[in-house]
Assembly symmetry: C2
Homo-oligomer: 479 residues x 2
């Protein structure tokens, strides 16, 4: 598993990532073009992500449900922009039970259409609203160039779909969800994100407003990490989601949709990982601490294992997700490398001398080598480890925030922008025209990420065309 | 929702079921042939089912993972019986991203093949075993005649897939899982089940042994409610899952697979439901108790709601899954019918007189009318309700067990068997030949359900051909 070194990030970031995902046991390539297998270790991480989000959605009144994986092709054509956006990416079922189908079915790329169809059946009165439904599962988009977690033909996500009586309520919902996504990234994934509105060209197919959270990876490229859309009555009109309002007047519902996908795992890898492997945030890590007993012979083993087993039990009883590595066919050095590759936040080493001295060695994953090593008493070890986990979590967020802030540059000159986005993000006034956005994309290979909600009080001029401009936008190369 | 009465079960059991599933808000028909939408109320029930099972699987060392939804068609052909069993039921993707695919892909009907393929990559040494992986999700089988939850083209389930070093270990796993399934049915779903071995013709395609749990529905038809299979080395040979054993000899792994699907929800409906609607077992019910405040005017409302809110909060704080029905646009009678339709185990009614007397009325769903009604003090209500929920749970299991036992008949005469299976199950000696099984299927329209593990100590003669026979089998009409 951890025999050979990874390429360093500086040598080849893309290859570092590709090898790391597989060697850390997160995922594997599937024998189906563009698809992945999420291995148990990766899926356990995904379960920690999903349970936090699911709990937050439930606290805010959302419920889960399940809609079919297959969607009639005709459904996509009901919303003009939606079909243009998704038709080229569909996987299509043409045969079922040995017969050619009368109507072809798409493996869902997203479920606005089929959920819109059902909502039109379920919604009759204002009393039926809001409808706040989330679906957990996978979707399929036929991608040509794939990368595990970041871009695969099939990926895992939740998709929230809500219908409301008014524009105001629907927009509130869109922002409420974006706030949950931001809190998830900050508190759980330790990833600093920037909230804002997407440009017209970067909007979801069929949306009136798309908001996003954007994160900076180690290579300074941006990753859109979650989106929340407001559709106005676009989908309600396409699917006839209508209700009698309090004045008994037939009214179109206002709808939203939103998602975070398994690509957030890719983000965690690319934000926190180092040249030795993954660095997982303690709040989400499937294994928060690993106990590695160290011994050279049976006599030592007996003494060490007695203490190691006791410590393991104590930490486990305190609710720490802990693993005992008592493998007898690999060396301690191999084990250290192995758990570093997998990003376990804290390693507890216990050798014969520790048994005598009543101590253990703790190694924190975010600070490799001597800097992250401490020798502590076995007394009160549970609290020591808990505090260390809290500290690792906070340090990861701090480090990522400082790194990001140091690499976002205020620019007010187009030549500077072109230079800055080679190795960072540019933050600049922009007139919000498609034309200027396109020019930056072609000449600087950077896209607009989002227009942050909080803007400077002053106004400026568009960095491309020089026209007066009210809002600044982030420009960056992106995944 | 509950305006018109359901047909009674005696009048038309099938129509009673079809209407009930929709009117209780469990599920709806999808606009895709043979598929269903599981509505939030039904999905909340499924989540309670899955979280119990997931916890039990994790306690016994299993981990979750995710494999692709699409499987190359060639994979099915690697195991002869498997392809014969599943080929006629496949939904087939022929196009992706606007191009015809070089190799067609099936939407998974079950995942032995693709998981077998991955296991062959992952398993090298006896140290890599056992592999104990569970996948939660949906699968697709192109069914012609569908019925919500019981038989739909797409359905929800978990599928466990394990690989072991020896036949003994693999068989132990198969039985361990069947025991978990039995405990789930008894303790959670309040459904008595019979464990046993399926006949050769009723086996899963590719299995050497299929074990099942079988339940009796209200109409006395059988429902196979869960299965656990032992494959020997069939799939290991087909997919080359080989390992070096402790003697350094290349050996084929022994594999199992097992599943419970969303059809268990259909079983709960058909075992416990009555002519007024669903009757859900308290341990799994999404709503365990509903508070219905009763008032005629604003003055009464104020008094009643104060107490109702307090009681709601107390019961909620005690961990009871509780709902307040304070709708002001429907009558109390409508509410009672509505919650009966949805099978909520306990209803807490509070009117102005209850406020004066410090009492509430409790109605238990399993005993309709006066028999199930009690008037109790508001003091200690949490314990009263908790005890009542425990009692409802136990009563449901007791009633279903008595009903089943009263409708299973020991028979030793072929003519009796033909009569008995018209309205019950027959339990009879059988020589285990396909020929005699086929005869019963053709002449009595009954199939063998399973051969129970615990057999009478005596031996007998086959009920069809009269040959000496060692084991008895259940014969029944089945879903």
């Amino acid at each position: 598993m951890a025999e050979d070194k990874l390429p360093t990030r500086a040598e080849d970031f893309s290859e570092w990532y590709n090898q790391l995902v597989v060697r850390s046991d997160m995922a594997d390539y599937a024998p189906v073009r563009g698809c992945m297998v999420v291995k148990p270790y990766g899926w356990a991480l995904w379960e920690n992500i999903t349970s936090w989000l699911d709990a937050e959605f439930k606290k805010t009144g959302h419920v889960n449900a399940a809609f079919p994986t297959l969607i009639p092709m005709s459904f996509f054509e009901k919303e003009k922009e939606h079909v243009e956006g998704f038709a080229p990416e569909l996987a299509v079922v043409t045969h079922g039970g040995g017969q050619e189908l009368e109507e072809k079915l798409a493996v869902r790329p997203t479920s606005e259409t089929i959920i819109g169809h059902m909502y039109s059946k379920w919604v009759k009165s204002w009393r039926d609203l809001p409808l706040l439904i989330v679906q957990w599962g996978s979707v399929m988009r036929w991608e040509l160039r794939t990368k595990l977690f970041l871009r695969t033909a099939e990926f895992y996500w939740h998709e929230g779909h809500t219908a409301h009586v008014s524009e105001e309520e629907a927009k509130e919902e869109m922002y409420r969800i974006l706030d949950i996504y931001e809190r998830f990234c900050l508190e759980e994934a330790a990833i600093p994100v920037l909230k804002g509105t997407k440009s017209e060209t970067e909007r979801f197919a069929g949306a009136q407003i798309t908001t996003s959270i954007e994160a900076m990876m180690w290579d300074k490229r941006a990753l859109q990490s979650g989106t929340s859309h407001y559709f106005g009555d676009n989908f309600a009109k396409a699917f006839e989601i209508q209700f009698l309002n309090k004045d008994n007047k037939l009214t179109f519902a206002q709808t939203t949709s939103w998602a975070i996908s398994s690509r957030i795992i890719g983000a965690m890898i690319m934000v926190h990982g180092d040249d030795n492997g993954l660095v997982l945030p303690p709040r989400l890590a499937p294994i928060q601490a690993v106990v590695v007993p160290i011994f050279k012979n049976d006599a030592e083993k007996e003494k060490v294992m007695e203490v190691a087993d006791r410590i393991f039990s104590e930490l486990k009883a305190a609710g720490i997700r802990i693993k005992m590595d008592d493998r007898d066919n690999v060396s301690s050095g191999f084990k250290f490398n192995d758990w570093e590759m997998r990003g376990v936040p804290v390693r507890v080493e216990i050798g014969p001398k520790d048994v005598e001295k009543g101590s253990v060695a703790l190694a924190r994953r975010d600070k490799p080598g001597k800097e992250g090593k401490s020798f502590v008493s076995q007394d009160g070890l549970t609290d020591t480890v808990k505090n260390l986990l809290t500290d690792v979590q906070a340090s990861l967020l701090k480090r990522a925030t400082e790194y990001r802030d140091a690499n976002i540059h205020n620019v007010d000159n187009y030549e500077d922008l072109k230079n800055v986005v080679k190795d960072g993000w540019g933050f600049a006034y922009w007139c919000e025209s498609n034309e200027c956005e396109k020019k930056v994309k072609e000449e600087a290979k950077a896209t607009t990420r989002n227009i942050p909600f909080n803007q400077p009080e002053t106004e400026g001029t568009c960095i491309v065309c020089g026209k007066p401009s009210k809002r600044k936008v982030y420009f960056a190369k992106a995944y």
